[in-house]
Amino acid sequence: MKRTSIVVILLAAAVTAAAQARPQHSGLARIGNTGQARVGLSRTMRVELRRAHVAPSARVLAVRSGRTFVRLGGPGNDHCYGVKKGTASQFGFTCWDDFPSTGHPVLDLSTFGADDGGPMHVIDAQGVAADGVATIAFVDAAGAVLGRSSVSGNVYSVSAPPAGAARIVALDSHGRTVFAVPK
């Protein structure tokens, strides 16, 4: 009987430890938006995708502010996401096998840059985020939050971010930081 009690206590301790070891954030390794209609790709785009060993197939995730967000590829190789503006023939795209994951819940497609010797900053903000990412925040070089934008349907898109934004920080529904670009 005493041995049984010890085993029960040990099992309870193991279960408690496992529960505590579970990641605090949920939904960071999942994307609910699997894409809607397929979109046609230009010949140049298909060539580029084949060169990247990605099936030349695209499903629309969202259209925001004139930008089309797509998930590219086929079964077993669909960890590529792209965006294009207006009637552009090509998608700029990024492939990342480790997205979405708790370590990498955001696949950022934003443009960063600088002009005429000025500091590097966010030119436009756009990307794909896991279900557990609720908001993105724009942060200046000193760490001050300049503005926020919500993530909807796993996509965020801000064509005119606040002036002086140097980083994009991804937050969960509790306001906790889950990723930042750049780190």
């Binding site: 990247a52 552009a88 700029g92 492939c95 990498h104 960063f112």
Partner: protein, 121 residues
Amino acid sequence: MRRLTALVAVVAALLAPNVAAATNWEHYGWVPNGYDPQCLWYPTYGQCSGWNWWVLNDGHVYSGGPALTGFENANTIRGRWTYAGQYAYTHPSDFGMPAYVRAQITNYSGTPAWVDSWAGA
């Protein structure tokens, strides 16, 4: 037969300039990787191509970083932050830049990155 030979010569002449014009640039190794005078913006942190009508810069970060994959000219630098394990396929048009630019990959994150940046024109 003579007409066929002439036709083949004309076709070959038409194709030849395209083949000769196709060019590429590649940096496979570390960034930062010492001073690169080809870089107009961050010569101590980046690796850059010469001037060309670049169509694509395919930046792959194997480890470290992140690194900024994109393009630059004298007035402007643009790119996308690319993390370890990522492949970023960027075009000058993605950033609203003219096509006559330098391809660049830059890393001032403080963590050296092992990368392969390949640009095609």
